[in-house]
Amino acid sequence: MITADEKFFAWLDGELPPEEAARVEAEVAANPELTRLAEQHRAMQARLKGAFDPIVDAPVPERLRQAIRPTTTDVIDFAAAKRARDTRNWGSLPQWAAMAATLAIGVFVGTMVPHRGSAPVEVQGGKLYAASALNGALDKQLASTPADDVRIGMTFRDQSGAVCRTFTQAQSSGLACRDDGRWQLRGLFAAPEGQGGSYRMAAGMDPNLATLVDSTIAGEPFDAAAEKQAKDRGWK
């Protein structure tokens, strides 16, 4: 005689090989208690499916459709972006300068840099680094930290092994990676006209930033535990 053990449920779920299934089936048929239990569990699964299956037939909210095919911004072809990166190889220029040339962020950066002291970026040795509040957020905040001025998005390693983090501020979003113990900006994108502030914070990743991340990332983005661990190790 068997009891309602894992084998009983494996039989119920059609997980047993045919011979074994036939044996359990016979035992269940001969045992009124197990027969009743099998019926109860089948009915329970039917009710469970009855509760959740209607979601499959319900119309999908527009924002979810849009997440796959954004209609308001250009659809990004990640594969094409990757091909472009592979063939062009912007290695010789500082990457942000190459990005500035192609994505016209230069003007935007220019307007931020002169305000030394409180500016979120500073230039040193031809490289662009995070400064002040942005630098602090990149150093200290986790993605789960409630956002003040700067919200941290994804954290991951690039192909050279450096830790990189995406961030969103009121008027811009970007990507910074560790370089000699500092956060070097790899890209900074101004929010499109009329999309500053809280709307932007909630609107998901800038398509240009998404493309940059896709061409920078090696492996999977960090989960919360890996992010915390990287922080505790000083982003090394």
């Binding site: 053990d5 894992e6 449920f9 494996a10 779920d13 997980e15 109860q40 569990h41 329970m44 699964q45 009710r47 469970l48 499916k49 009855g50 509760a51 959740f52 299956d53 209607p54 979601i55 499959v56 037939d57 319900a58 119309p59 999908v60 909210p61 924002r63 979810l64 459709r65 997440a67 796959i68 095919r69 990640f78 594969a79 990757k82 789960s144 994804m154 998901g204 990743m205 998404a210 991340v213 896709d214 990332i217 492996g219 999977e220 983005p221 989960d223 919360a224 535990a225």
Partner: protein, 165 residues
């Protein structure tokens, strides 16, 4: 000649099922649709890591489940600091609102919500989404015996709760 469906087309086709899984995992509809959106965004970002010829559905479910775990952990930390949220405060888009929300539906949903997370995800994947034990074991990186025993505990608890609620 027809070209094979694009990644985005396949993802679109999966959307209703992913959404069902999100609703089974989350405790309210607003969270479920946020989770679905995050999973789609993450899948698009990681698109180059998906190997054509392998199952896109398992890959996406795995992404969604890992995001959900991250969120649950963050919420646990937050609610440990803050006063507990009033139940039923969240207003979300539950596609079932349009239907007659029967007593039975409420019972089932309440029972699912009360299941421990590690049992709920397995109940959802096997009993609702229809994956096999082996598929779930690979998807969640768990030994098949763990999947099997959590499923037994989860469905036994569900039956007891649905019976008494």
């Amino acid at each position: 000649m027809d070209s094979p469906p694009s990644f985005e087309d396949q993802l679109s086709a999966l959307l209703p099922r992913l959404r069902r899984f999100a609703h089974a995992l989350s405790r309210n509809p607003a969270d479920a649709d946020d989770l679905t959106q995050s999973a789609i965004e993450r899948a698009l970002l990681s698109k180059t890591q998906w190997q054509a010829g392998t199952r896109l559905d398992s890959w996406c479910y795995r992404i969604m489940r890992n995001l959900w775990i991250d969120t649950v952990r963050a919420q646990t930390r937050r609610t440990a600091r803050e006063a507990p949220e009033e139940e039923g405060m969240s207003v979300g888009e539950d596609p079932r609102d349009a239907m007659d929300a029967s007593v039975d539906l409420k019972r089932i949903l309440t029972a699912m919500e009360r299941l421990p997370d590690e049992q709920r995800e397995i109940v959802a994947l096997i009993l609702i989404e229809g994956f096999g034990y082996r598929e779930v074991s690979e998807m969640l990186d768990l030994p098949i015996g763990t999947v099997s025993s959590r499923l037994v505990r989860g469905r036994t608890a569900l039956l007891a709760m649905v019976g008494e609620l």
